[in-house]
Structure formats: structure tokens, C-alpha cells
Amino acid sequence: MKMKSINRGDSFLESSLKIFVLVGAGILFAIALSAFVTHDLIDALKQRISSPVLILYAEIIGFVSPGPRYIIYPFLVKLKDFGLGAGVIVALISGHVLIEPSTAFVEAAFFGYKFPVKRFFISFVLVFLLGLFTVFLTDYVGWRIL
């Protein structure tokens, strides 16, 4: 699909207005979608499953939870209180913000669809490794990060 880019030929004011339209619509979509992320999804993290799978779940939940970053902190404190490890919390917090559905659309408009797709896959792999590394540090080396 040939996409027109906002960085070609538009004035700064026009581009800024387009950004506001996109941001406004993105916020609305993020809020609407976040209404469907229930505590049941978060509860899945509490179940006894292996650390790598738990990290994957945390990442996916982080990814599908749109909204501003500070919204997730109450969840993180709860998870910490429930005894979940730093690896899962790191994966959730990082997965939540690295890329999300609404910003992927904004990025596609700026750079083309390949940009968010590649960024998503790279972020996904990196956050997973980050979670595993944190588990290694906390569970095997004995670092106390939290």
C-alpha cells in the first residue's frame, strides 16, 4: 500500500494538527481498549507456571494493555505483594510501554507499516531476554533488585 507521509510537503502547522488528531484518536482507543483488560488477565500471572512462560504472559499482557505508563504501577505493586519476581515485573513494565496497538498505528502513519512490525518483534525478543536475565540475577546469582 502506498502511504502518504506527513513529512513530505506538509507545513509544520499542518503536521502538528495531524499529530493532534492522531494522538486524540489514539488516547480514545487506548482508553476504550483498556476497559476490556480485566483483573482475571492479571490474575493469570499469579498461577504457578514456569518463569519463561510467566515472562511471556507478562509481556503479552503489557503489550495489550494500552494507556499511559503510570496506570500500570498499581498493578506492579500488587504483583510484587503477591510475591511475583522482579523478572516478571520488569517484563510487564517494559512490555507495556515499548510498543502498543494504538502507537503502532501512529508509527505506521509516520514511517510505513514495516517500522512498527519490526520494532514490535525486536522489542518482544529483547524484553523476553531482559526478563530471563533478571530472573537469572535474582534467582541464581541472588541479587535483590526489589
Partner: protein
Amino acid sequence: MKRLLLLLRNLLESTENRIGFFLLLASGILFLISPQKVGLALRENVGMAINILLLTIVAVIISAAVERFVKAEFVERYFHGNRRRHLLYATVLGILTPGPIYAIYPIVFSLKRKGVPNHVVVSYITGQTIIGPARIPFEVGLLGVKFFIYRVILSVIIGFLAGFLYNLSSKVLPDRL
């Protein structure tokens, strides 16, 4: 009616407007699926939405300043080209940039206009999104200083690696020109 359709057609000629329209439509569908849930979420988040829009204005002002004051030579020197250290600069710049994810796009757009390559932009976005000045009170207060320092160190590494891997992946799957 004809005028309205014409106006709508003109508006939807732009890709960005089409995407904005799609997001509005998707939000409308979600609202129809569960008016109570979505309505409640909207009511609870009005203040936050206004905050983000206000911060977007700040980001647009910053991007205007970038546009006006950042000379092409600066961009050429610190962000242009394929040097790996540019990924590090971009990551650190991202970490130091305040504002929510939506609000940084005007800055990203400005950097792009200045000719910053996409993989360096990826490092910047990664650095900005994974951590930022606004998170300090949340993370230090709720999860502790050690956790925050650990995340800052990891963020520098991840930002660098994200740009590096993006560059590698672009050799297989090139971006649009």
C-alpha cells in the same frame, strides 16, 4: 449532504486522518460492545487524556524548537550515519526526554525530518518509552531505588540493542524510502 460527503472525502485523503478515523471507529465499536465498561473507563480517564494532550502541546513546542534551533550539522554529527555510538546518544536522549509515549511523536517526526535514520529513531523511542524522568517518582517510591537504577542500566543496553537489531533487520526487510 453532498457537501458533507465531499468534506469527509477530502479529510480522508490523508493517511494520518484515515488512521485517526479508523481509531475513532474502533473506539466506537468497543463502546457498542460494552457501553458500561468503556463509558466508565472514559469517565475515569478524562483528566489523564487532557494531561496527555497538554503534554503533547509541550512536545510540539519542543519539536518546533528542535526544528528551529537544531542545526543540520548537529544532527549530522550526533545522529546521522551508521555509527553505533549514535544509537547510544539517541537512547540517552530518549531516556532524558519527558512526556508520555504519544507526546514524543512530534519530536520523533522532527528528528526524522532532519534526516535521522530509522534505526537511530528506534533507539530514541525505545529509550524514551522504556524509562523516563516522569517515572522516577513512581518507580523509586513504589519499587525502590535499586529497581530504578537497575532499569536505567538495562534501558541503555536495550535502547542500543533495539536500534542495532532494527538496522540488521532492515537489511532483510528494508523500510519504505
